[in-house]
Amino acid sequence: MNGHSYTPSVVPKLLRPVVMLGNHALYLLFDLGRMGVYLFSALAGIFRRPFRYRELVKQLHFIGTGSAAVIFFTALSSGMVLGLQGYYSLHKFGAEGMLGSAVSLTLIMELGPILTALMVTGRAGSAMCAEIGIMRISEQIDALECMAVDPFRYLVSPKFLATLISVPLLTVMFDVVGIFGGYLAGVKLMGVNSGAFFNGMQQSVTNHDITLGIIKSFVFALLLVWICSGRGYFVQSIRGAGFGAESVSRVTTQAVVVSSISILIFDYLLTAILL
C-alpha cells in the first residue's frame, strides 16, 4: 500500500463515498503503522554502534543553541505579559502578593513546555522535515541504504537524541527567563514587593509541578521530532502531497501543523492524567 488509491469504476456512484471512506481509513491505519515502525527504528538507532558523536553535537547546536535566542525572547515577553496581566487581576482582590505564585506555576506547568515545543517545532522541526524530505526525493536516503548504511542510525536517530536533550533544557531556560520577565513587570514596573513575589513562588511550586513540566517537555520533544522527521522520511508516499519540491513544502507545512496540534492535545491529556 502507498499514498495512492483509486475507486474501481464498477462501484455504483452512490457507494463511492463509502469506498473513499474505507480507502481513507485503510490509509490512516497504514500511515499510523509505518509511523509506529519508524518511531521504533529511530529510538533503536540511538543505541546502535558506531555512535555519531559529531552529528549529535551538530544537531544539539542546531536544535538547542540555535533555538536559545527565540526561546529567550518568547519567554521574556510571555513572563512580562503574565506579570502585568496577573498584577491587574490580583490587584482587584488585593492579592498582589500571589503574583510570584501565579507567574511561576503558569510558566512551569503550562506555558514553558508548550511554548518551547511550539517554537522548536516552528524553527527546527520544519527544517528537519524539509532536510529529510529533500534527501528522500534526491535519492540520498536510497544511496545510504545502497551503501548498507542504516539511515536511522546515520541520519534520524541523532536528531531524535538531540531533540530529547535540547527541548527539556530549553524548557528550563524558558521557565527561568519567564519568571524573570514576570519579576521585571510585577516588581520593578508595578511595585509588587520583591520578597512577597519570591516567597509566593517558593510556597506554591512543588517538585511535582516541576516534574510535570519536565515530563511534558520530554513528551512534546518526542512528538515533534517523530512527526516532523517522519513526515519528511515518507514524503514520497504521503497521500495528496504531490511530487518534487512541492511535496516537500506541503509535507513540511503538514508536519508543523500536525505536531503543534498533537502537542496541544497531549498537553491536555498529560495535565488530566498527571495533575
Binding site: 495512492h4 488509491s5 483509486y6 535519492e139 544511496a143 541504504e145 548504511v149
Partner: protein
C-alpha cells in the same frame, strides 16, 4: 505479456529475475511496468537496460537492490532471493553492490572528499590516514583532485557523476548498477564517463547493469541488451539482433534510435 530471457545461456548469471511482476496504482487502475519478466545478468559482463520513459528501467534496478518489492516473482542474486530479505540480511546483500544514481545522489551537506570517504568510514575500520590515502587515490584516477573540498552544489553535472562513480566504486563492489549515468551531459563528458566505465570495469572486473537512454552509443559497451516495453522484456546479445527482431515494436525502436549503430557486434567493439 511475458518477458523472456535469451542470450545469457552461455554465461553464469549473477542476478536472475523469475516471473517478476511490478505494478503501480494509476488513475485507471494498476499500471503494470513489469509483467512476469524473466532474464539473467551474466557475471562480469555489461548489461544495458533500454526502453522508453516510464517503462520500468529504474524500477528494475530498485527491485534488485530491495528498495522496492515486486508484486510477485523472485529476484535472485547468486541464488539469494532479494524479495525475502529484510534488515541485516538485505544490508549484507547490498554490501556487494555499488550504485550510481541518476542525479548522483551526493550528500549535499558533505564535501566531495566526505562523500567519497563515507562508505569507507561507515563500513571499514580504517585509520584516518588510510581513508585519506584511498580517497585521494580515487579522486586522482577520476581527475577530481583539487575539488575535494567543494560541495556538490559547486560541481558541474559531469563532475557530480564522477564523484558518484568514485563513491560507488570505493569498496570494489562485485556488481555496479548505473541509473542513466550520462543523462544531461555533453558528448565529450559522455565519452569520458564511458571511458571510465570501461577502465574501472577492466580494473575491478565488476558486473555492470546500466540503465540508459543514450542509444546507440551505450550499445557499444554492452555484452547484453535488455529492451523493456509495456511490461514486456526482450534480451539480445548483439545490437544487430534488435534490427532483425520479428516484433514490430522492437523494429520501430531500432529504426528510431539506432541510426549510426554498427551493423554487427564486431563492428561495435569495446573501447
Amino acid at each position: 505479456m511475458t518477458g523472456t530471457a535469451e542470450g545469457t545461456n552461455s554465461f553464469e548469471t549473477v542476478i536472475r529475475f523469475e516471473d517478476v511482476t511490478k505494478s503501480f496504482p494509476g488513475p485507471e487502475g494498476r499500471h503494470v511496468v513489469l509483467d512476469r519478466v524473466n532474464f539473467g545478468v551474466p557475471r562480469g559482463k555489461i548489461t544495458v537496460i533500454a526502453g522508453g520513459s516510464g517503462q520500468g528501467k529504474s524500477v528494475t534496478l530498485k527491485l534488485v537492490l530491495g528498495l522496492m518489492r515486486p508484486d510477485s516473482g523472485r529476484i535472485l542474486v547468486d541464488g539469494q532471493d532479494v524479495t525475502r530479505l529484510r534488515g541485516d540480511g538485505l544490508r549484507r546483500l547490498r554490501t556487494r553492490f555499488g550504485v550510481l544514481f541518476q542525479g548522483a545522489a551526493l550528500f549535499d551537506s558533505l564535501t566531495v572528499f566526505e562523500n567519497v570517504a563515507l562508505p569507507l568510514q561507515e563500513r571499514l575500520r580504517l585509520s584516518r590516514a588510510e581513508i585519506q590515502d584511498r580517497v585521494m587515490t580515487t579522486l586522482d584516477q577520476l581527475e577530481l583532485r583539487g575539488h575535494e573540498n567543494k560541495f556538490p552544489a559547486q560541481l558541474s553535472g559531469g563532475m557530480k557523476k564522477r564523484v558518484g562513480l568514485a563513491r560507488a566504486l570505493q569498496l570494489d563492489p562485485e556488481i555496479v548498477l548505473f541509473d542513466e549515468p550520462t543523462t544531461g551531459l555533453d558528448p565529450v563528458m559522455t565519452s569520458e564517463i564511458y571511458d571510465l566505465f570501461v577502465r574501472t570495469q577492466d580494473r575491478i572486473g565488476y558486473t555492470a547493469v546500466i540503465v540508459s537512454h543514450d542509444i546507440p552509443k551505450i550499445f557499444e559497451l554492452a555484452d547484453q541488451i535488455v529492451l523493456l516495453n509495456k511490461g514486456e522484456l526482450d534480451v539480445f546479445d548483439d545490437p544487430r539482433e534488435i534490427r532483425n527482431s520479428s516484433k514490430p515494436f522492437i523494429r520501430e525502436f531500432a529504426e528510431k534510435t539506432m541510426a549510426g549503430c554498427p551493423q554487427n557486434k564486431e563492428g561495435a567493439g569495446k573501447q
